[in-house]
Symmetry: C2
Subunit: 159 residues, 2 copies
DNA sequence: GTTCATGCGCAAGTTGTGTGCAAACGACGG
DNA sequence: CCGTCGTTTGCACACAACTTGCGCATGAAC
């Protein structure tokens, strides 16, 4: 009934993740289908959860957000309660773009975007370090960004 | 003449980066302006580079991409030529979502998304390590993703 | 060979977008 | 205090895009 992506679906997903401003007509011409089919397939792809949402990709530079940093956080005593507080804190921080719990010697990696180094310092010293759970914080700053497209590779295991 | 974002512009940017499927009419009602104004402002925001592009945000899980990893790469002899090759290689690898040159003891951080650990291993052993420039590779795998919205914080230094 | 399910394009109805226009507003100078 | 000018707004309309019903083609099951 549903599921299982064919060749057309993958092309639609690929086109939309690179440029969601494309009209159905554009995509139709691109992959050799009619606009109405694109519309129907797109609805299905949204309903089945392949497309999570549509986003405008803003320019950090234009908005004065010059500093991107990765911050590794190590928790001390892994008390349930303190860890929970830490996670909620992180979710509520607008400067944090991504947060993952990691394997290896660091418990969390945070991707942080701020206007300048002073703001980064403020985030680390005022928000992160005062947390009871936090034992250690190591930050590394992105000097140059080679690639930042966040495009998922779509060629795996399909038609 | 141009530049300088007012309160309305920030609200529009905020709404669109969270959900680009909103119509001008939706945003108009949200922030108390007419749809035509949203249209005009949006055009300006695009022209002035605040909005880079529109993207469909796909679900890695739905697409069978279960493994996200951060890979730290250290280059050996920093020969200009080998470094250049390394950067081009990275740009061409579809599994690499982000790549930054970093301050600190690691030269590059790569965000990599693949279907499984085997695929990660393949990327590291077949693509990364054989590079002449590469001296050392350390990878850390995301066990749980707390946050992954990539929403820029918009409240800095404006009206 | 018939039936059924699926996917297709076309065309029509609906919804959304963008521009001309006139009015409102604010800044500035007389 | 008032007029002028530039900017921003809402409205209305023309245009563009989206979506859905429909009939047809294709291919699998029996």
């Amino acid at each position: 009934m549903t599921d299982a992506l064919d060749h057309f679906d993958l092309k639609i997903l690929g086109a939309l993740q690179a440029n969601a401003a494309l009209t159905n007509q554009d995509i139709a011409e691109l992959i050799g289908l009619s606009a109405s089919q694109i519309s129907r397939r797109r609805q299905r792809l949204e309903k089945d959860g392949y497309i999570r949402r549509y986003r405008a990709d803003l320019s950090p530079q234009a908005l004065g957000l010059a500093v991107t940093a990765y911050v590794g956080v190590t928790l001390g005593a892994h008390s349930r309660e303190n860890a929970r507080k830490f996670r909620n804190m992180v979710k509520a921080m607008p400067e944090v773009q991504e947060a993952h719990t990691m394997t290896g010697d660091v418990d969390y990696i945070l991707k942080i975007v701020v206007p300048d180094l002073q703001a980064l310092s403020r985030v680390i010293n005022d928000d992160l370090l005062p947390q009871e759970a936090v034992q250690n914080v190591r930050s590394s700053i992105a000097m140059e960004t080679l690639k930042d497209d966040n495009l998922l590779p779509l060629r795996y295991g399909q038609t």
